[in-house]
Subunit: 359 residues, 2 copies
DNA sequence: CTGAAAGCGCTTACAG
DNA sequence: CTGAAAGCGCTTACAG
C-alpha cells in the first residue's frame, strides 16, 4: 500500500471549525465568563487580562456569534423589511435607507418581497417571524386585511406600517409612517395655478387606494382655495402604470374646453401621459403642463424633465428604521402616526406656463 | 384604599411572552422531544398524538424559533447579500432575484450595502459574519483586495463573487458568477456591422475595470472578424455615469471621418451619450447609432428606445442564490466559475441603419 | 477581579 | 411510539 501523504503542517486543526469563547478562554487559562466580559467591554476586567484575551481573539480569528448571544439574552438584532418589490425604484431607495440606518446600529435587514400579493405577504411574514425579528417594517400589499395580519404577527413583534393605511380592526393600532399626500398634491396644484392654469386635471391612480384619495383631496383643496370647482371629467382614473396612463391620455380631451394641465398620481403615470400626449400630437411642456409625484430618478432625465413632488424615499427608509428601533425600546407607548414632509421639485420643464395658445 | 380593578379574563397571561415547545408539550402532557418530532414531520409519531399537538400549536400561536434550532444543529438559514447599492436598478433587480430564490427554500436574505467603498465593505462583512450566514453573495466594491477579504471571511463561510473578478492571492479561489461581457459586446458590435456601420466607437467605462476590458475585447473581436482595425480615437474612456457620458460625447467627433455608431459600456452611458449628442445637434437613431449594455428598465422607454444587451439581472440573482446554496452542501468541490448568457435586445430604435448621409 | 452554574429554545442520539 | 439527557455558543447573577 502506498503511504498516505504527510499531513500538512497547518496550525488550525480544522479551518472549518468555529472558534468559540471556550477556545479563547482555554488558550488564556481563563473561564468563558471572563472572556465574555472582555468581549462586552466590562470595566471589571484587569487591563492585562483584557489585553491577553484581545490578542487571543485576533490570533484565533474569533467571530462573535450574535445568534447565540441573542438567544441567551432574549434579544434580537434582525429587523424584517417587507415591501412590494425591489424593482420599483421607490422601494429600492426606501430599502437602501432602511439598511443604511440599521447597519449603523448593529442590526441586520431581513428582506422580504410580497409582489403585491396578500397570500405571498402572509407566507413571507410567517417565514420572517421564525427568524425572530426585533421589529417589522411593512409596506402592506394592496388589499391587506389588518385583522388577519395582527393575528399572524401577534403582539410580540412591533410593526411599522409604511405608505399605505392598514386597519387593525381590534383597537390595537399600528405604528404608521406615510408621505404627506394631501400636501404634495396641493403643492403641485398650486404650482400650476401660479403658472396661470385654471382647468387642471387629476390624472391616474385608483380612486379606492388611500394614497390616491389623499392626493385627490390635496388637489381639490388647492382648487377650492382658488375658487375653482373641478369638473367630473377632470378626474381620470387609471392603473398607476406608464402603459395605462399612455392609453388614457385621450380621455383628457373628451370634452371642450379641455384641461390645459394635469397633476398626476405619480411619476410613472406622468411619464406615460407625456408619451400618450405625443401620440396625440401634443407636446408636454409646450401644449400641455404635467406635474408628477415621487421624483423617481427618471424624472430628472425624461424629455421634457418632469416637475414633480419629491418624497425622498431614502430618507423615509432611514426614518422608518429609526421609528421601529425606537418602538422596540418603548413597547407600551401609544401608536405613532408620522407624516413625512414632501416638497415641490421644479424642473425645466414639463410644466409650461399658460399663454395665448393654451387658453 | 380603592380596590384594584378586576384582572381581565384574558387567556394569554402575557401576550408578549414567547410560546415555546415546552409550553405546547406541557399542555399536551408530552415531552419536548416528541413535540419537536411532530414539528419536523417525523413518521415515528402516533397520528393521534400528532393531531393533538398540531391543534395545540395553533391554539397557542406557536412560532418556530429557527435561531435556536440552528444553534443546536450547527446550521444556518441566512444568506448575506452584499452589493454596491440598491438604488442601482441592476443591483435592485439582482437582489430581488436572490431574495425570490432564497425565500422559496426557507432561507432569509441578510442585506448589506458597500456604497462602492472598500472600508464599508469590510465593516458590513464583519457585521454580517456575526449573524452566522450559511453563505455570502458578494459583488465586490471597486478596488477590493482579495487576500484581505479572504482573511476577513475565513474558510468557514462560502462566498460567491458576482460580477467583478477578485483574486484571492492564496490559491483558495472563489466561486464566481459573471456576465458574458465579451460575448455581449461582440453581439452589439456585430449588430452595428450588419446595419452597415464600419467606423464604430466603444464609448465609456474605465479601461482598468475588468468588465470594461472584457467588453472592449468583444468589440475588438467582432471588428477583427469584419477585417476592421479600430482607430485609437474610437476608444473613449469615461466614468460609467450618464453625466460624464454626456460631457464626453464631443470626443467622438474630434477627428474626421468620425465614427457613425458607438457600442456603449452600459445603458447609463448610452443614455448620457444620447443626451450629449442632442446638445451637439445630432439625433441618436437618425444621425448616429447607439447600442447600450444591461437593458435597464429605462432603455425601453427612452427617446429613442435603446437597443441594448439584455443581461436579466433578476435571473442572475436567482442563479446566484442557487449556486451559493449548492456550495453550502458541497463545501469541498473545486471553485465554480459560471458565465451567464446575454442577448441582444433590439428596439425601434437607437441603432439607425447607415445610409447616404451617414457615410 | 475571576469562576461555577444555570439557562435561552431547540435537536438528537439513546433507552425503554 | 415516547421520554430523559446532553449540548449548540453565549450571558448573567452570584460567590468568593
Amino acid at each position: 500500500m502506498p503511504a498516505k501523504p504527510a499531513s500538512p503542517p497547518a496550525a488550525p486543526v480544522d479551518a472549518r471549525r468555529r472558534v468559540t469563547l471556550d477556545d479563547v478562554a482555554r488558550a488564556c487559562g481563563l473561564s468563558r465568563a471572563t472572556v465574555s466580559l472582555v468581549l462586552r467591554g466590562s470595566p471589571l476586567v484587569n487591563p492585562d487580562t483584557r489585553a491577553r484575551v484581545e490578542a487571543e481573539f485576533r490570533r484565533q480569528g474569533y467571530v462573535y456569534h450574535r445568534g447565540a448571544a441573542n438567544l441567551r439574552r432574549k434579544a434580537s438584532s434582525g429587523i424584517a423589511l417587507v415591501i412590494n418589490d425591489l424593482s420599483n425604484p421607490f422601494f429600492a431607495e426606501f430599502a437602501a435607507g432602511v439598511d443604511e440606518a440599521l447597519a449603523s446600529t448593529g442590526h441586520v435587514t431581513l428582506l422580504g418581497s410580497t409582489g403585491e400579493s396578500v397570500e405571498r405577504q402572509r407566507a413571507v411574514l410567517a417565514s420572517l417571524l421564525e427568524h425572530d425579528p426585533a421589529g417589522i417594517i411593512l409596506s402592506p400589499a394592496e388589499g391587506s386585511d389588518g385583522a388577519a395580519l395582527r393575528r399572524l404577527v401577534g403582539m410580540r413583534t412591533p410593526v411599522l406600517v409604511f405608505n399605505r393605511e392598514l386597519d387593525a380592526d381590534d383597537g390595537t393600532g399600528w405604528d404608521f409612517l406615510a408621505l404627506d399626500n394631501v400636501r404634495g398634491a396641493q403643492l403641485a396644484t398650486i404650482h400650476l395655478l401660479e403658472r396661470g392654469h385654471r382647468r387642471i386635471a387629476f390624472f391616474g391612480g385608483h380612486r379606492d387606494s388611500s394614497s390616491c384619495r389623499q392626493r385627490r383631496e390635496g388637489y381639490r383643496l388647492a382648487l377650492a382655495q382658488a375658487g375653482i370647482e373641478p369638473e367630473p371629467q377632470w378626474l381620470v382614473d387609471c392603473a398607476p402604470t406608464r402603459l395605462e396612463a399612455a392609453r388614457q391620455a385621450a380621455a383628457l380631451f373628451a370634452r371642450d374646453p379641455a384641461p390645459t394641465a394635469a397633476v398626476c398620481y405619480n411619476d410613472a403615470v406622468a411619464l406615460g401621459l407625456i408619451a400618450g400626449l405625443a401620440a396625440l400630437g401634443r407636446r408636454a411642456g409646450q401644449d400641455f403642463a404635467v406635474v408628477g409625484f415621487d421624483d423617481i430618478p427618471e424624472a430628472a432625465v425624461s424629455t421634457p424633465p418632469l416637475t414633480t413632488i419629491a418624497v425622498d424615499p431614502r430618507a423615509r427608509g432611514r426614518q422608518a428604521a429609526q421609528l421601529v428601533l425606537q418602538r422596540s425600546t418603548t413597547p407600551d407607548a401609544p401608536p405613532m402616526h408620522v407624516i413625512a414632509p414632501v416638497k415641490l421639485q421644479m424642473r425645466a420643464s414639463s410644466d409650461v406656463r399658460v399663454d395665448g395658445n393654451l387658453q
